[in-house]
Amino acid sequence: MTLLTSMLERPLDPGYQAAADRRRAAGRLPATSTRTPIVLVMVVLTGFLFAVGARSLRPQPTAASAAKAQLVQRIEALQARSSASTARLAALTGEVQSLEALSLRQSGAGGLESRSRSLAVQAGAAALAGPGLTLTLDDSPQSAAGADAGSRPSSGFSSGRVSSTDLQIVVNGLWAAGAEAISVNGHRLTSTAAIRFAGQAIIVDFRPLARPYVLTVLGDADRIRRVFDPAFAGVYLSQLHQALKIQVGWAPGSSLTVPGDPSLRLSFAAPLRRDVGSAPGPSPTGPATP
């Protein structure tokens, strides 16, 4: 306590007072000039020390962090380009479709057009709207604090964070519960959209997601909850919530929209036979005749 008091009450070096008293006793002014050469030298030295200290102690933009910043920049640029391309694609698809419809109607082959439209709904190329629910998943508050969990690549899922496996299981459970369409953070889940991870990032259809993860689900909300909650995925989710404090939020909605994915394209698969009706055969699981 004495230490603190003396520190607070007499913060000034006692030497100043003593020197002033001595000078006063000798009949001179108590203070010396601040412009003596030695003060100047000292002051220049101080400035030098500050500058050098700031220079050498500032966390250097190391090669690694510069590379990281560059990576983030490139990812963001590509993301912007991709979303521009997606919008362009949607516009172009509409344009091409109306041009096609025009010339097909002229030639009397409009049936193909309506088939294409109904298939677009089934394949996830068309946006859908309707009642349903949104499920919001987020990392536990504790894990958000210690976010930078090091440089472990894939295997390092710190507990309390939503992993791609969690998302896969939840989505699987939602489909089983009768969901009619699902999008994750505005990305429609189609038959080619994978839910994967890149280290700690969750990737849906090659696009990194930022938390929170919002699943928009179209369907009968009551029925979905009734089937989902007691099923494996529901139990799994409640365990995530209880044990790992992962945040789970359900909200029913009467008019939700899931976007379509205009970029559906095949480069390897071709139809086995032309013009099989959209109605499947009597036994859809049976092997069809080649």
Binding site: M7, L12, G15, T32, T34, T36, V43, T46, G53, A54
Partner: protein
Amino acid sequence: MIPALGLLLGLALGLLLNPSVPLWLQPYLPIAIVAALDAVFGGVRAVLDGIFNDKVFVVSFLSNVVVAALIVFLGDQLGVGSQLSTGVVVVLGVRIFSNVASIRRHLFRA
């Protein structure tokens, strides 16, 4: 005014020359800077109190820096380097604050 210009000159020199600090010196640098800061504020306060003395300023500056570095060095040898550094920073920090408070009272009467 002239000391302030000197400080700026030193800053400019340091920034322009950008000397590389040897690795063994780097642990002492932060503490030395805090000690120097304390000496500078002490000096300014002494000027305002009307009892500035160039010799005291220089000696207090040097002794501050040297003692701070010595404490860090000794702490490192004893294995309590970080705790001792924290202690030094706290003590000097309190001193800087109360000196600045006194300067403030002199300049703004508040």
